[in-house]
Amino acid sequence: MSYSRIVWAHLRKDLRLEWRTKDSLNGMLFFALLVVVVFAMAFDPTSYPTIARQISGGLLGVAVLFSAMTALNQSWARELNNHVLDAHRLSPAPASALFVGKALANFLFVMLVELVLAPVFTLFYNLHPLGETWKLLIILPLGTWALVVNGTFFAVLSLRTRNRESLLPLVLLPISMPALLGLIQATTAVLTGQFEPTLWIKVLVAYAVVFTTVCVLLFDTVLGGD
């Protein structure tokens, strides 16, 4: 089987599992909505439209990152049932294909959450973007991939540690700070229209390329390391 077909098989399996249970999606969606509400309580964005425009890029980034983290922990836990992960280790299929499939599945889930979240933000925070809104169609997928690719990698690392749930944020947040910053700055640039997001899109592209490569190269070692 070719590499892409193995990736597709892994991806299809993850999508089907999620379709049957909808565990991660429901959790992520509700968590993200709660973040929107909590920040609305904290900052009262509707009374201050300019401030709302300046902060909602950051709030969106934080909401996405935090809700993604709730799903990332679960995404590998389902491979532990019935020793599926051990079966993956034994199989002759390239290990990185498993990683790419899993990262793609997580990426799709988080993008779905963002699709729901964007209109909610616009409604609740009374947003009128002043920049070129179509650029968000580049920025959001790029930023999401940058966050999710490292998140998927570190979730498999923390799978074999003592307090798994608390470890993932401790490792993921420092490493993904540049990606988060790029996502937030680029989104803010589009929402306020005060500066061009080009530099931050470049940062996101560089980050995504570098860390996707590192993840794919190291995954085999980490999965097989016992």
Binding site: F154, R160, N163, P174, L218
Partner: protein, 255 residues
């Protein structure tokens, strides 16, 4: 077990000589730093620079040692487990030194910033990326504590590769962006550099703290190697007692 309690003769003598030399250079560095001519604008406070500079420079060196050791660990792990363990011990030692030196760098930097800019902290590119460097290696040490025994080395080696990505960005930040932090002092543009009267103090202190870092690195490495040997011996002991009770059990069952 005798070698775990006494350091062997030659290494011990070498270590003690190095310690004495380090203290001598440190003392002389302190003397030169305190007697260097007072700076025009900041007065005596600028002497913090003689400690800020060596510590931050060295806190860019230790992460690379950590990265190198981690990559060697990943390379040697399937080939030579003894060497891989040595590389892992070196990685721990260099990561701890990174956190130590970066902490001193942050603290002295804040003292300096308070005096020069009137604020303790600002979120400019250099300070932010430097804080990220510190955070990355603190999280590296946390992972080492949290990971399941037997998994620690491989997980942290993978993490080290990620953490190292910040070092060049932080190092270059004052060259790429216009920051509140001063532009590069050494190897910068045409108008960079310091007054020649300060060279002696800068270089002696750099030498002193590099020697001190090398000393702690060596000591920490030896301590970690002993810990590994004791852990291995203990695991072997459990295995043997397991085998012994196992045989016993079979005898019982056979009867």
């Amino acid at each position: 077990m005798t070698d775990t309690h006494k350091s062997s003769g030659f290494a011990g003598i070498l270590g003690r000589t190095w310690l004495v030399l380090t203290f001598a250079v440190m003392a002389y560095g302190f003397y030169v730093a305190m007697t260097a001519p007072t700076e025009a604008t900041m007065g005596n406070l600028y002497r913090v620079f003689f400690y800020h500079f060596p510590h931050t420079i060295l806190s860019f060196v230790f992460p690379y040692l950590n990265l190198g050791a981690s990559l060697l660990y990943l390379y040697w792990r399937p080939r030579n487990i003894e060497r891989a363990n040595a590389a892992d011990a070196f990685a721990v030692a260099s990561a701890e030194l990174t956190v130590l030196y970066a902490s001193v760098g942050l603290a002295t930097g804040m003292l300096w910033g308070r005096a020069a800019w009137g604020i303790w902290w600002t979120w400019d590119a250099r300070l932010t990326t430097y804080l990220l460097l510190w955070l990355s290696y603190v999280s590296y040490l946390l992972v080492r504590r949290f990971a399941a025994p037997g998994q620690t080395a491989i997980i942290s080696a993978a993490l080290a590769v990620f953490a190292a990505a910040d070092i060049p960005i932080c190092y270059m930040s004052i060259r790429w962006w216009r920051t509140q932090h001063p532009a590069p002092v050494f190897g910068g543009g045409a108008d960079s550099g310091i007054d020649p009267s300060m060279y002696a103090a800068v270089l002696w202190n750099l030498a002193a703290w590099a020697m001190w870092g090398a000393l702690i690195l060596g000591v920490r490495y030896v301590v970690e190697r002993r810990r590994q040997r004791i852990a291995a011996a203990r695991a072997l002991g459990y295995l043997e007692s397991d085998l012994a009770t196992g045989t016993h059990f079979h005898q019982e069952a056979g009867r």
